[in-house]
């Protein structure tokens, strides 16, 4: 598949050079790329889901390695893997149901394959379904958690292949691919429309004459505030400028253009202003499985100020930002150091940063981290496209979106980087 390979390489380059800004754009493009990978994938006669999963995984690992800090890439890869597993499963259960009705002899044959002559088809289906669910106490004593907890590539694919032997193979192969692509299209649609879905909830959270504080710029926040304004709420917005990139300036401009009362403040003025604020609403770069937030630098400061004055700290995040990993040492591992040119003017400071002077290393160092980690206890509420959630509830959303198998596999992949 030379054409997909070219697409993949192109995207890899963009990721490596940090050409794609924002997790939404990254997520959408990743999903689109994976969709074309899937559609180009030749389907073997057996173990089709397995082939698809392997193909997506191979591309996914490269993408994650290209920009490990952009967690949205990994999230989308896992979402697509989960979609493949789900679609395969629904086809399998449908096939088993059909078999059950049509022929008894077939059914028995099916059971022998599973090594337990008494297991009914319904039980097989139930067991297969539980491989998708994260391991739980319910399944602890059953057979399945063993395979679910210990990563086994495409275990469900292997099963299904045997069961479908009497089903019409060619129609099924087309069906699986078709269903998966359909579902990925839905995922892309979700990513594109997540702003609107989050913004719909704005009126429930923003009340008349309130003062809202935000930091930096986030399209989600902009849409959210604007949606409240559209519903005839009048309120003030304080925008902290978000040094060193000053994206707050852009947000302030946009807000004013849309007719909102806006006040621009410096980041250092946040603590001074917070006592007047009713609610802090910010965007996020990624949300971790424990409810911690990776957000533009300076956010932890705002969160701490908000906590000090008991101001609700609300984080808006599309579901593509939910990451199933736990942050270990997030300040270092999940951060990116950007160019010092955002802080300093090279012309003026070139002397201090000269490697030729004195000891051989410059006296002036510039550290410009892109992200902050906000621990879950500082967050009051997450608003995602599915509604408002407590930080401790994040794991549940993640369990819905990702299958346990993929977390472990990808973790090994990221650890290898």
């Amino acid at each position: 598949m030379p054409d997909t390979q070219a697409l993949v390489n192109d995207f890899l380059n963009k990721l490596k050079k940090r050409k794609i800004e924002g997790s939404q754009a990254t997520a959408r493009q990743t999903a689109e790329l994976l969709r074309s990978v899937i559609s180009q994938q030749r389907m073997p006669y057996t173990n089709q889901a397995g082939a698809l999963i392997d193909a997506v995984k191979a591309v996914g690992e490269q993408l994650i390695a290209a920009n490990p800090v952009e967690l949205a890439v990994g999230n989308i890869v896992r979402r697509v893997l989960h979609i493949i597993r789900e679609e395969d499963l629904s086809l399998t259960t449908a096939a088993i149901g059909g078999l059950n009705l049509s022929a008894v002899s077939d059914d028995e044959n099916d059971d022998d394959r599973d090594g337990d002559s008494t297991l009914s088809a319904a039980a097989v289906a139930a067991a297969a379904r539980s491989t998708l669910r994260p391991p739980s106490l319910q399944t602890l004593l059953e057979d399945t958690p063993v395979s679910a907890a210990v990563p086994q590539t495409s275990s469900s694919g292997g099963d299904s292949e045997g069961k479908s032997k009497s089903a019409d193979k060619s129609s099924r192969s087309r069906k699986l691919k078709h269903d998966v692509i359909e579902a990925v299209n839905e995922l892309i649609q979700d990513i594109v429309t997540c702003h609107e879905q989050i913004a719909e909830q704005a009126v429930e959270h923003i009340h008349q004459n309130e003062v809202i504080l935000t930091l930096g710029s986030s399209r989600t926040v902009l849409e959210f505030l604007f949606a409240a304004k559209e519903k005839k709420r009048s309120f003030r917005v304080f925008v902290a400028e978000g040094a060193p990139r000053y994206q707050g300036h852009l947000l302030a401009k946009e807000l004013v253009a849309r007719g909102l009362q806006t006040t621009l403040i410096t980041d250092s003025a946040v603590f001074a202003m917070i006592s007047r604020v009713n609610m802090v609403i910010v965007g996020a770069h990624a949300v971790m499985a424990n409810g911690g937030v990776i957000a533009p630098v300076g956010m932890n400061l705002v969160a701490l100020a908000a906590q000090k004055h008991a101001v609700p700290f609300v984080v808006l995040a599309g579901s593509h930002k939910l990451c199933p990993l736990y942050p270990h040492n997030p300040e270092v591992l999940l951060n990116e150091l950007r160019s010092p040119s955002e802080l300093l003017d090279f012309g003026e400071f070139s002397d201090c940063m000269d490697f030729g002077s004195g000891s051989g290393s410059p006296l002036l160092h510039v550290v410009n981290p892109a992200f902050d980690y906000v621990p879950p206890k500082l967050v009051s509420l997450f608003i995602t496209d599915t509604g408002g959630h407590n930080p401790s509830y994040m794991y549940r959303l993640i369990a819905d979106y990702y299958s346990a198998d993929d977390l472990v596999v990808q973790r090994r992949a990221t650890a290898g980087n």
């Binding site: 297991l119 391991p135 106490l137 602890l140 059953e142 424990n290 401790s392 509830y393």
Partner: protein, 395 residues
Amino acid sequence: MWHRSASFILDKNQNDTVYPADSVTLTPPPPSISTPQNPNPNLNRNMSMSAYYQTRAAHHGVVTSDWLAQSQEAATRAVATGGQEIVDGGKSGRAFSVIDEFNNWRKQPDLAEAVAAIRALAAVIRNSEAKTMMELEIELKKASDSLKSWDTTSISLTAGCDLFMRYVTRTSALEYEDFNSARSRLIERAEKFGEISYKARKIIAMLSQDFIFDGCTILVHGFSRVVMEVLKMAAQNKKLFRVLCTEGRPDRSGLRLANELAKLDVPVKLLIDSAVAYTMDEVDMVFVGADGVVESGGIINMMGTYQIALVAHSMNKPVYVAAESYKFARLYPLDQKDMGPALRPIDFGVPIPSKVEVETSARDYTPPQYLTLLFTDLGVLTPSVVSDELIQLYL
């Protein structure tokens, strides 16, 4: 609140009057004489040792010889009371006793309490003459109740029984039409449980590896098989880390952990239990095991865990709990005294005058807000997930 009620104090006073002969002089005799020949007479007075901690002491404890003698004495008494219960349970006329079976399994040092419980219940199924699923269920229920009431202090015993009962009632009847195959499947699953438990420890160790980074200092409290597994795997993965072990009074199980870690060439330092706050600022994370994980997401663990968690919390250090999911128990303690105490004799080295009361509770409850994450075989969980899992299972 049994312990604060007036009747409790009354009972205590009565007890004191029953044993007037035990009173000892306030001046401690020279230690050279007292330790070898006089192993704390008042300890044997009106307290028995929790069966759970008896096993733990036998398996993990580094104990002094006189303390061992005491616990043995306490053990014989506990067995005697256990024997009574067996007679009670024997009303049904069977020679087989689930408690004996349980105790046999429990003697194996590498076997978790819940595994022993489930194996004992499997033996019940095997010995049962039930002809229908309903009969078998009733029989099992009886057996698990007697097992639970035999040692109310062991949370994992209760949790293990509940889990297995739940499995029997929920799945078996639905999936199998044939009673015999259902029965053999139950037995097979129960016998696999030892393997599940072993595997659970491996999974937990694997999950926690990401959290142990090079150059970190880990504080551990007492001896826990899971924590041992975690640290062992980290050492095998060539991680560079240092372990601070608390002594783990009174059974001094921390000594054993320190011993085993030293065998793995992990740098290890022993602390007395009261040195935790003193050393906390050099600690990067606290790792503890758990006797049981309760519905709130808090844990019940060896005495001292609560204060370590409090110190760690106040110094902003993460507290990680490693616990297998079959330790999740349907309890919701509201405070420390909310559960029946598990008693354990304490060796003070000198005789304690009879008027001095000794706190012999062996475990405490650590509320969820002081715990950072739980490493279980179900994944890395925040404390609030525990109740969710339990609700899903038992609702």
